[in-house]
Every structure is written in structure tokens, then in C-alpha cells.
């Protein structure tokens, strides 16, 4: 097992290097001079020379690549052109929003998708099965932003003045604010304290923050704001998970050991869940890992619909505002996160299927 994990870790190193080279290339391939992008169109030649010298842009390209890699590895992602703030700080601020949204959507997708898939497989060709699969086919074909807008219209306009009303934008109702847990607890932590970014990051996860500070008003408000975007974002992963669960379960349920389990008189529930699902889990884990990319694409769109200031929306704003350091920094973080998630999925196979040890 350890050997398998180690080998898998080593294999991802070249991919990570490839990502760094690709993001470096993206920044260099973008039309326009980095100096005029940073200092404005009317920057003088002297100012540009000084800028190039300071940023190491006068060095040969391979030295620039080296500097870039060293910076990224030490957590220095440069400064945003538009906000004159370190990209790292912006990520600490925006990532929790996207993380919260993505995790909520993924949880929803698994909680609905897996049982729906199991039910479909167990009652194969029944009305339930047909209805589930039709819904899954439609769900996987739906544009996220369209569903988001329609849900917002349904719950914020048509159901206004009913208990089902839900807010169509933002993270919190105006007037409410989430007090960081370190401040609520009176910890002596401020900008500059060692480990401040970690505290900042954790406190920006509103659900976590409001649970540990026992602020239930903020908690319920956050959840209320999260429902529509999370539902919109979860449809595609949910449909895919339901389909994979169904086909994987169908394959497993046809095996001899399932017949044996039934023959020895086990209850159907145990047969399906312990003997069936456990063995059908591998493809499901793979597909859940792969959904992270889908979730991210959806996050760009969902955050834009529901006015959530997360990574997706900020990245999009950076692209329209030609804020190259932000584009580059966010791309690296997202791609690395994607590799890590896929790695985690691969490693979790080893736990789900002990046979992989022998590999």
C-alpha cells in the first residue's frame, strides 16, 4: 500500500512541473507587454526598463522560468495589477467561498446520486428506474447557469411571500456579518501574526466559522443563501454519479457471490449494501474525483449568477480586466488542487479495493 501511494505521488511530480510550465507559458503568450499591462499604456521607456529589471523580465527566458518556479514553490504568486494586493491574499479570501459552494454541491450530488443509482439498479427497468435515468439524462444536459437563473426566478420571484422563498444572490443578508472565530474568542491574532492566513482562511468558511462560534443566525442565513447555487451546481455531478452507480451496481449484482449471499438467506438490504455497494464503489470514487473539474467550471458560472465572490468569479473578472498575475496564480492553485484531488481518488482505491496493493 505504502509503495503504491509513494509511486502515485512520484508520478504526479512531472505533471505538476508541466502545469507550472504551462501557466508560465500562458502568461508569456498573452498578447501585450507585461510592463504596459502593469504600469498602464503611457508608461515611459525608462519606467518600463526599471520595471523589467525589478521583475526579472530582462533575464533570459529559462532564468525567468526558474524565478517563476522558485516564487510559486515559496508561495509568492505576485501582486494583482488591479487591486495592488498579493495574489496569495486574494486566494485566501476567495477560495473558502468556492470551497463551501463546491463541497455543498458535491455532498448533495453524492447524497442524492448514489441512492438514486442503487434504487435504479435494484429495481431495474421499473418505473422508478426509467424516471431516474430520464432525469439523469436531462440533468447532465442542462446548462448550469440556465438552471441557476431559472431556480432564482422560481424561488425568489414566484415563491415570494411563501415560506419557500430563497435569496437569489450573495452569501449573507445585508446587515448580518460573520465574525471571525478568532475575534469572537478574543484571540490576539491580527494581520502579520504567524499563521494569520490560515486563521483568515478558516474564518472565511462561514458555515464552519458560525458553527464553532455557535452563531446560529448566521449559520442558517448562510445555508439559506447556499441552497440555490449548490442545487444548480450539483445537477451535473449528481446525474453522472447516479448513472455510474446504477451501471456499476448492475454489474456487481450479476456476480456469483451476490447469488451466494442471497442463497444463504441474507437480507436483501445487506446483500445490496454490504456485498453489492462495497464492490461497486471503485468506479463511483473515480467519477466523484473527476467531478471536481466539472464543479470548478460550474463554479465560474454559478458564482457569476448568484453574485458570490469566489475563485471562479474572481478569475473571470481577472480575465476581463487583464489582471495577469491573478490569472496565473489562480490557474496554478486550481490545477494543483485538481491534481491533488485526483491523487486522493487514486489513493482511496487502495482502501476501497485491497487487491490494488498487489499492483
Amino acid at each position: 500500500m505504502t509503495q503504491y501511494i509513494l509511486r502515485r505521488l512520484l508520478l504526479s511530480i512531472p505533471v505538476l512541473f508541466g502545469i507550472l510550465i504551462a501557466t508560465f507559458a500562458i502568461a508569456r503568450l498573452i498578447p501585450g507587454d507585461p510592463c504596459t499591462a502593469a504600469l498602464g499604456e503611457r508608461a515611459t521607456q525608462a519606467a518600463c526598463d526599471a520595471y523589467n529589471l525589478r521583475m526579472g523580465l530582462d533575464e533570459p527566458i529559462y532564468v525567468q522560468l526558474g524565478i517563476y518556479m522558485r516564487d510559486v514553490l515559496t508561495g509568492n504568486l505576485g501582486d494583482s495589477i488591479r487591486f495592488s494586493r498579493p495574489v496569495f491574499t486574494i486566494i485566501i479570501e476567495k477560495l473558502p467561498v468556492t470551497l463551501e459552494l463546491g463541497l455543498a454541491a458535491l455532498t448533495l450530488a453524492i447524497l442524492v446520486g448514489v441512492p438514486a443509482g442503487i434504487l435504479s439498479a435494484v429495481r431495474r427497468n421499473s418505473k422508478v428506474d426509467v424516471a431516474t435515468m430520464v432525469a439523469a439524462n436531462i440533468g447532465v444536459s442542462m446548462p448550469v447557469y440556465w438552471l441557476g437563473l431559472m431556480l432564482a426566478y422560481l424561488f425568489a420571484v414566484l415563491l415570494r411571500d411563501t415560506p419557500f422563498w430563497l435569496p437569489p444572490s450573495g452569501r449573507l443578508t445585508a446587515g448580518l456579518s460573520s465574525i471571525p472565530f478568532y475575534r469572537a474568542w478574543g484571540l490576539p491574532i491580527s494581520d502579520g501574526t504567524f499563521g494569520f492566513p490560515i486563521f483568515e482562511f478558516l474564518s472565511n468558511l462561514y458555515i464552519l466559522n458560525s458553527i464553532i462560534t455557535l452563531n446560529f443566525k448566521v449559520l442558517f442565513d448562510t445555508i439559506k443563501h447556499l441552497i440555490l447555487p449548490a442545487v444548480a451546481l450539483s445537477t451535473i455531478p449528481m446525474s453522472i454519479i447516479a448513472r455510474i452507480t446504477r451501471s456499476s451496481m448492475l454489474e456487481v449484482l450479476g456476480q456469483d457471490y451476490i447469488r451466494t449471499a442471497r442463497a444463504k438467506g441474507l437480507r436483501e438490504r445487506l446483500v445490496v449494501l454490504r456485498h453489492g455497494l462495497r464492490n461497486a464503489l471503485l468506479p463511483i470514487i473515480t467519477i466523484v474525483g473527476l467531478q471536481v473539474g466539472t464543479l470548478f467550471a460550474g463554479a465560474v458560472l454559478t458564482e457569476s449568477i448568484f453574485s458570490l465572490s469566489g475563485v471562479g468569479r474572481s478569475l473571470f473578472d481577472a480575465i476581463t480586466g487583464r489582471d495577469y498575475p491573478v490569472i496565473q496564480g489562480f490557474t496554478v492553485v486550481i490545477a494543483v488542487g485538481y491534481v491533488i484531488v485526483n491523487l486522493a481518488a487514486d489513493i482511496s482505491y487502495a482502501f476501497a479495493d485491497p487487491r490494488i496493493k498487489l499492483d
Binding site: G18, A22, I26, P143, L149, F296, V300, T331, A335
Partner: protein, 314 residues
């Protein structure tokens, strides 16, 4: 089983013909695939006869032509809209253009996007994958590691990054989507080439003195076709969805093009006051993507010999 197959192997042409017939017969036995084919057929007809179906020019503002206002609600005579008013099945958009005509014409753009991007990706992916699989060694390594890096990015993010480099517009969005999809086809073709190139009929062709490209294109690639068709059909669904999303964000097709994503993006702020302007283009996207997904799933089942045994046993 394999021995009798090889011994009694009929000439290539006859075999592939019967395989095609078999696949089609299996395909149309499935309800889903039939539904997908019917929807797709309908959409192709709409695309071809768009000028006859659409009552108005999709880019024409009706402000100076008819007594209308912008974002006018749908007027359907059958549903009680006064006969003396001009009929606008899906209302008018922010520039007072007939939404129904725009949705109808949008079919052309979306189908074109789907077929052209995936067509390009299949050609590029097949070439790269075939070269990698057939040549092996360092060529294989360079090509496939590059593909791995492309796959390491979430595809939509990569498409956005490519558009940042190339610039906005429908054409660049098409290139971006084609590039993003290429690695999937490269992997698929490489895997097929690796498994087929060791088989006896390829060795026999080589012994007869055939050149490497000839073996590759006439013997190996035709046999790698079934998974490509399945992946291609499902890929078209994804490509249409991605292109519409890019256009929705303003990175793809630009005004005044009657592209569904662009139409949605332009009117998204009006969803609370004029929901019909958002509903119909999005529904059209879903309908089209659904057709390709249903057909792709059906093709996969029809081409998978394992599943045919299951259905026989049933």
C-alpha cells in the same frame, strides 16, 4: 472462439458492413437512442429550413417596423393574444428582435459548433494518438505527457485560458474547445492502436511488405473506430455545452450572432422581469445536448458486445 474467427475471417469489407448493420439494429432497439436520433433529426431539419421556419430576420430590430416595445412578452394567437397584434412566440429581446427566430437560427450555430470542434479534435487526437501508439519510445512519451498536462487542467478553465491568449470570438472559442477535447481522443486512439498493432492480421500485412502509414490508416485505425464514434457523439454534447457557457460569459460568439449562450448572457439581468428571454435559449441548449447524450449512450451500448449478451439473456 478466436481460432474459428481467425480461420473463417471473411474479407474486411463484408465484416465491417455487417458490423455496421448489427450496430444500427441494436441501436434502434433502444428507446433512449431512438429518442436521441429523432430529436437530432428534428434539429437538423430546423437548422436546414431555418429561413422558412423563422418568421423574422434573427438580427433585425423590429422597433421601427412594428408597433412593439423591447422585451415584449410572448404573443401567441392560440393562447388569446389579440389577432391584430403580430405574433411573437417567444417575445422580443432587448434589441426588439424576434426571439423565436433567433432561437431557430441558433440551431445552425450550435450544431456547427458541435460537429466542427469535435471533428477537429478527432482529427488532431487521432493523428497524435496513432503516432504515439505506433512509434512508441520517446515520441510516445513526449506526446502523451503533453496530453497529461492538458488533462491536468479542468477543461473549462483551460478553454478560458486559451481564449485569453487567442482573444475573444466564436472562432477562437471553437479552437479552444477543440484543443481541450483533443487529449481524450489521443488517449483513446493510442490505446486502440497499442492493442491492435500486435494482432496477427497486422503482422500479416506487415509481412506482405506494407508501409507503416498504410498499415496505420488502412488496417489499424478502421478497427479503432467504434470507441471514437461513441466518444465523439458524447463529446459533441459537451462541446455544445462548453461553447454556450463561453458565449454566456461573453468569451465566445459575439452580438448580434443568434447564439443561444450569447442570447442568455445578454438577457440574464432581466430574468426576474422577462424570464422568457432566458428560458427558451437555455431550453434549446438542453434539448440539443440531450439528443447527443442519448444517442452517444445508445451507441456505446450498441457497440459493446458484453451488453448484447445481457440483453439476449433477458
Amino acid at each position: 472462439m478466436t481460432a474459428t474467427d481467425t480461420l473463417a475471417a471473411p474479407p474486411q469489407a463484408v465484416k465491417s458492413n455487417s458490423l455496421l448493420q448489427l450496430t444500427l439494429r441494436r441501436l434502434f432497439k433502444q428507446r433512449n437512442a431512438r429518442a436521441g436520433a429523432v430529436i437530432l433529426g428534428f434539429l437538423i431539419l430546423v437548422a436546414i429550413f431555418a429561413p422558412a421556419i423563422a418568421p423574422y430576420d434573427p438580427t433585425l430590430s423590429l422597433l421601427d417596423i412594428e408597433p412593439v416595445t423591447i422585451r415584449q412578452a410572448p404573443c401567441i394567437h392560440l393562447l388569446g393574444c389579440p389577432e391584430d397584434q403580430a405574433q411573437h412566440l417567444m417575445g422580443l429581446d432587448g434589441n426588439a428582435r424576434d426571439q423565436f427566430s433567433r432561437v431557430v437560427y441558433g440551431t445552425r450555430i450550435s450544431l456547427f459548433i458541435g460537429f466542427s470542434t469535435i471533428g477537429l479534435a478527432i482529427v488532431a487526437g487521432t493523428l497524435l494518438g496513432a503516432i504515439a501508439g505506433y512509434a512508441g519510445g520517446w515520441v510516445d512519451n513526449v506526446i502523451m505527457r503533453t496530453m497529461d498536462v492538458l488533462l491536468a487542467f479542468p477543461s473549462f478553465l483551460l478553454a478560458i485560458a486559451i481564449i485569453t491568449i487567442l482573444g475573444r470570438g466564436l472562432q477562437n472559442a471553437l479552437y479552444a474547445i477543440a484543443i481541450v477535447n483533443t487529449p481524450h481522443f489521443a488517449r483513446l486512439v493510442r490505446a486502440s492502436v497499442l492493442s491492435i498493432k500486435e494482432q496477427e492480421f497486422v503482422a500479416a500485412t506487415r509481412a506482405l511488405g506494407a508501409s507503416a502509414p498504410w498499415i496505420l490508416f488502412r488496417r489499424i485505425l478502421p478497427n479503432a473506430l467504434p470507441p471514437l464514434i461513441v466518444q465523439g457523439t458524447l463529446g459533441i454534447a459537451g462541446a455544445i455545452l462548453e461553447a454556450a457557457a463561453l458565449s454566456f460569459l461573453g468569451l465566445g460568439a459575439q452580438e448580434p450572432a443568434a447564439e443561444w449562450g450569447t442570447m442568455l448572457g445578454r438577457e440574464r439581468g432581466q430574468v426576474f422581469t422577462a424570464p422568457y428571454l432566458v428560458f427558451y435559449p437555455g431550453f434549446a441548449i438542453m434539448f440539443t445536448v440531450l439528443a447527443f447524450n442519448l444517442l452517444g449512450d445508445g451507441l456505446r451500448d450498441a457497440m459493446d458486445p458484453r451488453l448484447s449478451q445481457v440483453s439476449k439473456a433477458k
